[in-house]
């Protein structure tokens, strides 16, 4: 049976259709699915998400998708909460006593954004400083993208784009074939479309060598 070459994982989260529409606007052949075989066979995989890390991780557990996602070798793009789920753990606890364990594919943790008194959530269009990762090819320094979040990944070796709101933090992170963006490319007008097009150009062969992080290159 034929399938779309790019699968958007059906996490049960609320912004699935926005992500799908954005890919469709750039002419991409995408399908929303939680079918393990389809996800494994896809050329690329998108992990979307809004809401809380705990609810989203529970949805992945309920669908038995954790091992599947961890085993992927093709390009995987986490969006917003999807990015946060790629890390080791999130401090967004909700009513629980412990941090929320995540997929552990990128070596960092999600912590509360220290906005230094600026309103939270960090909501609206902010400027990013992209590194030389192919996800940001053609995206100029200072480009605006749309953010909505209160938790963030810090800056580190895994950072491939930076942003600042009270403090500097990771606008995007990556480790090998796993990439994540804290902002919403599906709502970021032309800049967002460029990033999604860049992702659509990737395949498993894009990651034979590790991409250098921003820290190695620019810090």
């Amino acid at each position: 049976m034929s399938q779309s070459d790019t699968i958007i994982i059906d996490t049960g989260c609320a912004n699935l259709s926005s992500v799908r529409y954005a890919f469709e606007r750039i002419g991409a052949d995408v399908e929303v699915s939680d079918d393990i075989d389809k996800i494994k066979a896809a050329t690329r995989v998108v992990l979307p998400g809004v809401g809380t890390a705990r609810a989203a991780m529970q949805a992945l557990k309920d669908k038995a998708l954790i091992d599947t996602i961890s085993s992927l070798t093709q390009p995987v793009l986490g969006v917003c909460l999807g990015m946060q789920m790629l890390t080791r753990a999130s401090q967004e606890r909700g009513d629980k006593q412990r941090d929320c364990e995540c997929l552990g594919l990128i070596d960092t943790n999600i912590e509360r954004l220290d906005s230094k008194g600026l309103p939270l959530p960090h909501m609206g269009w902010n400027q990013i400083s992209p590194g030389d990762h192919p996800l940001f090819a053609g995206v100029a320094e200072g480009s605006y993208v749309y953010f909505v979040h209160s938790y963030r990944a810090p800056l580190g070796d895994f950072t491939i784009a930076k942003c600042e709101y009270g403090e500097g933090f990771s606008a995007a992170i990556a480790k090998d074939n796993f990439m994540g963006v804290q902002f919403h490319p599906e709502k970021s007008a032309a800049v967002g479309a460029t990033i999604l097009r860049n992702f659509m150009k990737m395949n498993a062969g894009s990651f034979t060598g590790n991409h250098k992080s921003m820290k190695e290159n620019t810090l």
């Binding site: 912004n15 529409y21 606007r25 809004v50 809401g51």
Partner: protein, 257 residues
């Protein structure tokens, strides 16, 4: 730097965009999707759709246009009007709305805010507040069911108290509609907005009264709001969004161009 946002508001009634003066006498402005697409192209940072009849007439936003908007525009948008339950909110978000805005139903049942926040996270919960200056008591107060003049009523809430309450319960953003000035284009109520800004830790959107580019400059520089919402000046072509954003940028306000 985080840019200040320019937010055209499209009041929706029976599937059309309408605009009244001080929430009354609505006239049809145009179809929803073409207007939304045009504003996105002109540089709007976000769109708000209010189904102004929904709360007053106990109807829920017609959902079909929500997904049509989500399919076609690539900037965030918020849907408001008669959302009273978790299921109704989930449906709007599933159709592609980035945020939902709650107004009258939150006044009827403030615990709705807590429940929405628990389910979806505060980042997609905006609270609309219709506030007016009551000259008799020299205070700001909150009105309910403003979508229909016959159904509009006063509440027991002072604006400051309600602003504190909705934040405590977990909203992610506040849209303050200052009713005395809505649609008459005499400028935003800077005094009231600055008062609310001082007690508002979430993003604050100013609404009501924009008539000139100077009004936008004032509300950003003097009231410190995160976003300015307006309808008639954009619908009637009195102000062009791109020209407005250039003007604001030239005057030191951070803008996405």
């Amino acid at each position: 730097m985080l840019a200040k946002r320019i937010v055209p508001c499209l009041d929706v009634r029976d599937g059309k965009v309408v605009k009244g003066v001080q929430f009354r006498n609505h006239e049809i402005v145009g179809d929803i999707v073409p207007l939304a697409a045009r504003y996105a192209l002109d540089g709007a940072d976000e769109l708000v759709f209010y189904d102004i009849t929904a709360s007053a007439h106990d109807r829920v936003v017609d959902k079909s246009w929500v997904s049509r908007v989500a399919e076609q525009i690539d900037i965030p948008f918020c849907v408001a009007g008669g959302i009273k339950s978790i299921d109704q909110a989930r449906e709007k978000l599933a159709f592609g709305a980035d945020k939902i805005s709650i107004n009258s139903p939150a006044l009827s049942d403030p615990s709705l805010i807590d429940r929405l926040q628990d389910e979806f996270g505060r980042q997609c919960i905006a609270i609309g507040i219709d506030s007016y200056y009551d000259a008799d008591t020299n205070s700001y107060k909150v009105k309910q069911f403003t979508g229909d003049e016959a159904a509009t009523k006063d509440t027991q809430w002072y604006t400051q108290d309600w602003v504190e309450e909705v934040q405590r319960r977990g909203c992610g953003e506040i849209v303050l509609n200052v009713m005395n000035q809505d649609g008459v284009r005499q400028g935003y109520d800077i005094k009231q907005l600055a008062m609310v800004r001082a007690i508002c830790d979430v993003p604050l959107i100013a609404s009501g009264g924009a008539g000139t580019m100077e009004h936008f400059l004032e509300v950003f520089t003097q009231a410190g709001v995160d976003a300015a919402l307006a309808a008639s000046v954009f619908h009637k072509g009195i102000i062009e969004i791109e020209a407005l954003k250039r003007y604001l940028l030239d005057n030191g306000v951070q803008m996405r161009l």
